[in-house]
Symmetry: C2
Subunit: 169 residues, 2 copies
DNA sequence: AACAAGAATGTTATTTTGTAACATTCTTGT
DNA sequence: ACAAGAATGTTACAAAATAACATTCTTGTT
């Protein structure tokens, strides 16, 4: 996987619905490929997560699902999240207890995030170099790496410029 | 700050009480230096966190404090944790919701962690290279870094060898 | 179509983690 | 002694996640 910047969460006015469609298509085909079922809740959960420009909390998602007639008990949403996570379709941002659609689900990877403290927009970035360095670093301690949580916070360029405090909410 | 491996949490049988004393001394002098008060709860909280070989949850800590006659309401422990965190005397491991003593509180830094999935031992490591790379990487996106959450999980060497599943608990 | 097995969802209750808000007490400088 | 701010006590609650068990939905097989 090459370096990329996932700008679906930036303040740009691109047609986000394209991203969403793309993500859902990818999800459909990945699930088909692996014999997994992208059921109604799961699909809708994924879509709702994508529709949010910033990471969505489990209970925020649950509320949205409930509005639409889905069951409104926590296990519903946590099961959907678990499925989407294990399918690599979303990431969890540990430091926010929130979930984010992944635009590169077809290429298994660790999510590295840049999180703006001001507008809460999140940019996923890929940096193979860092990944390699971390693996090596761990190896020198005899440590065998499994998962990586890399979440950087700070100020995005828009918020530094006082643009409009983070663009579209 | 140079590279180091904080092995106070490893399975080695070193005299951990030395680490604790050291940490408390550092804490005392740092607080004095900055005109902050290392009160009884705060001091004891720090000590208890250090006495645990693995990251300690807020409510685990609260229970221990309560046993010793301290107030047993959540705010007590969260206030102590907040103080210790902001003083740089402990780190929070986001992916575990748990807290860990820092052996290098005198040199302000971000906590980078290697967490064993098996024995839950945590090793703090420093890697100035990574820090620099991340800052640069963020900068190329116009992003100004503030905090870094870097938590790697996997298997420590002991657990790979099936040593004794993580040493002392 | 009938059936069985496993996957997915429904339901209820509880646990774990973390805060808000306001009252009281302690510390320090005057 | 006094005032101001820091720290702690207290009560209540919010937010995030899971346990356990019942029910329903799918899918392949007979
Ligand atoms: Zn991703
Ligand atoms: Zn921003
Ligand atoms: Zn540290
Ligand atoms: Zn281990």
């Amino acid at each position: 996987m090459t370096e990329h910047s996932n700008d679906h969460t930036s303040q740009s006015e691109h047609n986000h619905s394209h991203c969403i469609e793309q993500a859902l298509e990818t999800a459909e085909s990945l699930c088909a490929e692996h014999g997994q079922r992208l059921t109604k809740v799961r699909r809708r959960a994924l879509e709702l997560i994508w529709q949010s420009h910033r990471p969505l909390g489990a209970y925020q998602l649950l509320a949205k699902l409930a509005e639409e007639g889905f069951n409104s008990a926590p296990p519903t949403v946590y099961r959907a999240l678990e499925f989407l996570l294990s399918a690599g379709l979303i990431h969890k941002v540990e430091s926010m207890n929130a979930y984010l659609g992944c635009a590169h689900a077809d290429k298994p990877h660790k999510g590295y995030f840049l999180i703006c403290d001001e507008c809460q927009n999140v940019m996923e970035f890929d940096y193979q170099d860092i990944h390699k360095i971390l693996i090596d670093k761990a190896a020198t301690q005899g440590f065998q790496l499994r998962s990586e949580t890399i979440e950087l916070t700070g100020l995005c360029s828009s918020c530094q410029n006082g643009d409009d405090e983070g663009g579209c909410k």
